[in-house]
Subunit: 326 residues, 5 copies
Amino acid sequence: MALATPRAGAAAYAPCDNMIDYDPHRWWSYFHYLRGSMVREIVARVLICVLWAVGVTAVHHHTKPLDIPATVHTLAGISLSLLLVFRTNASYDRFWEGRKLWGGIVNETRNLARASSVFMRRDAGLYGTLVRWISAFPYAAAASLRGERDLGPVASELPRDEADAVLGSQHVPLAVSQKMSAVLDEGRLRGYYPEHVQMQLDQNVQLLIDYIGGCERIHKTPMPFAYMMHLRRALMVYCYTLPFALVDSFGWITVPATFVVAYVFFGIEEIGVEIEDPFGHDDNDLPLERICETIHGNLKALMPGSAEAIHAPVSVVAIPGGGQDA
Amino acid sequence: MALATPRAGAAAYAPCDNMIDYDPHRWWSYFHYLRGSMVREIVARVLICVLWAVGVTAVHHHTKPLDIPATVHTLAGISLSLLLVFRTNASYDRFWEGRKLWGGIVNETRNLARASSVFMRRDAGLYGTLVRWISAFPYAAAASLRGERDLGPVASELPRDEADAVLGSQHVPLAVSQKMSAVLDEGRLRGYYPEHVQMQLDQNVQLLIDYIGGCERIHKTPMPFAYMMHLRRALMVYCYTLPFALVDSFGWITVPATFVVAYVFFGIEEIGVEIEDPFGHDDNDLPLERICETIHGNLKALMPGSAEAIHAPVSVVAIPGGGQDA
Amino acid sequence: MALATPRAGAAAYAPCDNMIDYDPHRWWSYFHYLRGSMVREIVARVLICVLWAVGVTAVHHHTKPLDIPATVHTLAGISLSLLLVFRTNASYDRFWEGRKLWGGIVNETRNLARASSVFMRRDAGLYGTLVRWISAFPYAAAASLRGERDLGPVASELPRDEADAVLGSQHVPLAVSQKMSAVLDEGRLRGYYPEHVQMQLDQNVQLLIDYIGGCERIHKTPMPFAYMMHLRRALMVYCYTLPFALVDSFGWITVPATFVVAYVFFGIEEIGVEIEDPFGHDDNDLPLERICETIHGNLKALMPGSAEAIHAPVSVVAIPGGGQDA
Amino acid sequence: MALATPRAGAAAYAPCDNMIDYDPHRWWSYFHYLRGSMVREIVARVLICVLWAVGVTAVHHHTKPLDIPATVHTLAGISLSLLLVFRTNASYDRFWEGRKLWGGIVNETRNLARASSVFMRRDAGLYGTLVRWISAFPYAAAASLRGERDLGPVASELPRDEADAVLGSQHVPLAVSQKMSAVLDEGRLRGYYPEHVQMQLDQNVQLLIDYIGGCERIHKTPMPFAYMMHLRRALMVYCYTLPFALVDSFGWITVPATFVVAYVFFGIEEIGVEIEDPFGHDDNDLPLERICETIHGNLKALMPGSAEAIHAPVSVVAIPGGGQDA
Amino acid sequence: MALATPRAGAAAYAPCDNMIDYDPHRWWSYFHYLRGSMVREIVARVLICVLWAVGVTAVHHHTKPLDIPATVHTLAGISLSLLLVFRTNASYDRFWEGRKLWGGIVNETRNLARASSVFMRRDAGLYGTLVRWISAFPYAAAASLRGERDLGPVASELPRDEADAVLGSQHVPLAVSQKMSAVLDEGRLRGYYPEHVQMQLDQNVQLLIDYIGGCERIHKTPMPFAYMMHLRRALMVYCYTLPFALVDSFGWITVPATFVVAYVFFGIEEIGVEIEDPFGHDDNDLPLERICETIHGNLKALMPGSAEAIHAPVSVVAIPGGGQDA
């Protein structure tokens, strides 16, 4: 989507994230939600399991007893539950680490713009160039994680050929970061700060690269195949043998009972899948576009010529009662 | 609240946090507390569940047996318990991370004021300006997390137009941090320290921005919707089917038994909700205002002209027995 | 205690920590210990619970059957156990974080004394002043965490008026750190090193402030009230209803059985309380005074005029076979 | 393998990792996979256990009853399950830490190449040398972790004698890092940057050494022997006594029941073994070669003379509306 | 041992660690190991428990029924298992943290030798002195953690009086680090680098001190006494009451059943004890001597005059096709 109109104006950048906004304090409001609650994802495997339970119960009652004791399900159920919940929490840790990395992108874009403004504010052109490239970084990073190419609403304000070259490069966020480095180098060449200030400002660029690298790590490395596969196989065996363990004591209630267990277990497993790579367009993914907009908004306020008084040349005011050089 | 009187004097800043002060060593003292113990939050959903248990038991005894075995509740209960307690602990981790971030704000305000005092103490006016803006930062941050705008008791000592401009800016704590940067830049321009000292002092400002960014991350990112929703649905199914599993063996004691289980389970879930975003005004939230006051107190002692002797020009005393240049 | 004699000599500083020294490899040696094993803390609540069990059993046998099935205790017991053990481990994490912070204080005092000795060793007076203030820091920090005021055995070697001023300041460790900063500034003014060396040395002072800030965070922030309260209420309900679940099958053995369960559960809960704030004078708290003594010993060896040869002017020896300028 | 042709051209470097690429959202697609799902590894121990179950059941039915109650398996099963799943998660943490370290290698190679390009771009020869050595580092690191020696596709572009000397040194990645340091030093000697810029660039080299050191730590330190051994012994006792506990209630279904439990338990244990050292050639190991290729690709785009326009001399463009020196 | 011959030659430094080398992929190879698998440590307490079970069973069968239901063991067993496994994992975290700290020592010795070689390589005598002291550090650290005093095989190459003074100092690793600082200071005085390069190199010395400080923290701080004691008491009560719960249903099989449970539980507890302080000479401790040897080997290759060509004066080669100053 973003790729189609990489240089469209800001108007096109209304948040189009799917993440569901909800208030965890409102208990009863979301029970009817299908969206984002994985019902669509797990309905097939739960239904098949329920049909199987119907079959088992029917055969047991009408043809031949099929019941087994529930001992094994109790014994193996503990390991399985532990593995299942640990997997979901490993996924949550990845979700939260992804969120932290994007929080770091928010912080470092703020820091870079703020720290460089002190030295560059005399040169509105150069500082504006820097802020525009900073603003392009999160859009480039988000698009890159989604297999797209984009520079966000600021693209139209960048020189067309440079923006096109960056969009055409092998790794767009890396190319954007090189643009930032180049502007910072230009600032030194114009004499606004010495080399060690440049190196210090460059630390923030370096952190931005670390953060996008961290996101790519999460995006490209799923749970080890053996872990995922063993869990799913064990889950399948567990759920498909469950009707045998229940049928004698539960009768036809075996069917809803199997439904509940399958729903709970397949659901927990699916949560792990949903949130282990939180950079996509799914309902439970991170609102990357909203985060990009926040950064864009923060940076716009810092642009030379913005309306906010605090960005006018800063004047330090002597406080009455504490005279300067007193 | 704070927004209404953003420039009121210090008198208005008595701690108004709701966090309950308690001594964990006193075991019996808090059992009667309703406040802060989530009784009000979960009473409705527990009561409905209890009424349902009354209905199920009545029908079972008088109309038609409704009992099922407890096997499924045992099997699914382990997963559910694990998921429930893990979720609560993920929330506790967020609570504790939020506390750490505010601890970092305490540390960095201290560090910035202390490290800059060495270089700036000759210029009481400039140093006083810096300390005042530092003191305003935590109030601005706390208010920002609560959707308010505030600069704390120091607001009245700041130039009116600058304070108003900062309060009117898009992101108040960011605007305050820019003021700090500007004062640090002014200090360099006045020749108190070279650029690399300024960059080093600016690192503390950078950390302050990182910390407020971290708080915003926690505040704006709830648990993934799928996680929360699946847990609540499973919890509902579990609690509402429990009376069927208990009614045959427990008789009318099914009702208090269901009450206990529902109270324990809904309570654990509610703890997770209460502490996952610890920056509000709730009973279990962090005492942000008290933390702001602590910072304000520490900084007031550092202000030029404060009563404490140690902040007078520092004299290093030669120790008897270890002569200087010996 | 320390407050009463803030300037007593070193003789008064024999370790008075209560922490129990034990060898985990000796299995049978500590079973008879009452001290440190929380027996005194939980004896009341366990005994009341046992008496209750006696009453329940007596009524059941002589008056009227009171037994209920154990199903609910099994179902809710898993959640309760998980919550209990997680809480204890959250407390252990705080204990360990507190230990890490004090380990950091050990490291940074060593680092500051070592790194500054290179530049300051020509000036025994100034370096001695610095080392004395560094040595005072851990005592000030430990006392501050315990609501006391102290500068340790080195207090008598510090100028009386400065030590008194520091002891009288709002935040003693912060005041000590300012003294260190002042000595470091004096060193620069005397021309021993340039500004960026001072800034680098000041980083260690900054870390010391971060560590004491971290300790204060742990000390002042108990577990969220809702978490603690819900756990205790659920624990009470669990233990007081347990005799009903046991009485029919256990008979009079219900009483010791209830004792064992109450002892185990209340004990785990009490561990969490004991170690969540590890900076006090309790048996299970950290040996802060011993740590302070270790630092004091390390620093004494670094003092100008100490007996250890390695602290005499350092001479770098040319190695045979690798000639200088070869 | 790589050792045999250490200087073969890029053509030889098609990814030869075994890691299975899979889409966790596709549920049913991988159930038939033998590769990577540990079936081969655990089939022997599971089969022996099943044969044992056949024997036990046969003796029980035809010779002499051998059944015992399942109580002990329930009691000890919880500890065993916990230990098992914790061990697997400790292994996953090592897997993930290994992935993070390689993510760090990706980031730091990018950062070093980008940060140094600003200062070195005038000297294509020197910069090209640096980028080639950077590109050799990940290959050297991956090979070193696998007991091999390699410099990757860039080897043919390095001076033959230096590459051979590095390949013959005690620790190849360390020797490569020294080459980088030497090039950075040469850059300073040629006057492109002062010492502190060199030190800052050297920080990235230092991080690369830290990361390879971290990988060696994971590679060389298995789980403590006692932990592994106790778990396996307990697992053996558990699985080989299980048929006795099941045989009376399960009859001949004891055999598939034992199979399922042994499959689940041995499988979880095997996952832990598979992923605790993720740097080998196994199906579940990290795709080190693919990561090396990614780095190589990123760096190739940065080489002087590469096709991508953004690496041509950077020109900062004045933005209309924000004039320079305005 | 090391103390007896602190200056013996390298020949005396064959690895004498006890850590068991094993391949986790070989499943059946280690089941017969007594060494390292804690059998000797727990045999006494398990045997006593088994004898007790024999007594209980005998009395039950011949004198008077002693059986109780297993309900309480089920209820309390979950908490106990959780506490047990969490304790073992807390110990594993300490083991792993200790390994990380030693990994850090490996990295920083490498970094310090590599980074300083660039500036010092002109002066083989001074650089050789530095590398020798760096090489002595890990031996001093390992010995210090084991209550010994040692400088490793390099001791014989150090000036006798300085080595003796260091070995006689209060804290040997700290004294070694001061020697490094002194050499680095000498390098600056000889004009090889300015102060800020010295400070940057000193950062690595600082990290070495942080790491040895971290190891001392782990070594000196056992699990809180209350945690260890409560766990052991609960374990004792659990295991000694278990025969009563089993005797009725298990008959004489109570004895092996009690054996298995006691073996599993006491074994898990013992793992925690074995690995919580991983710096000793035990079978499950870290191979500190092997790590020291690795460092020594790495550093020997860096010594001036070593055979490896890459340490000869480094020459940067112009790459064909990318001319210098092109």
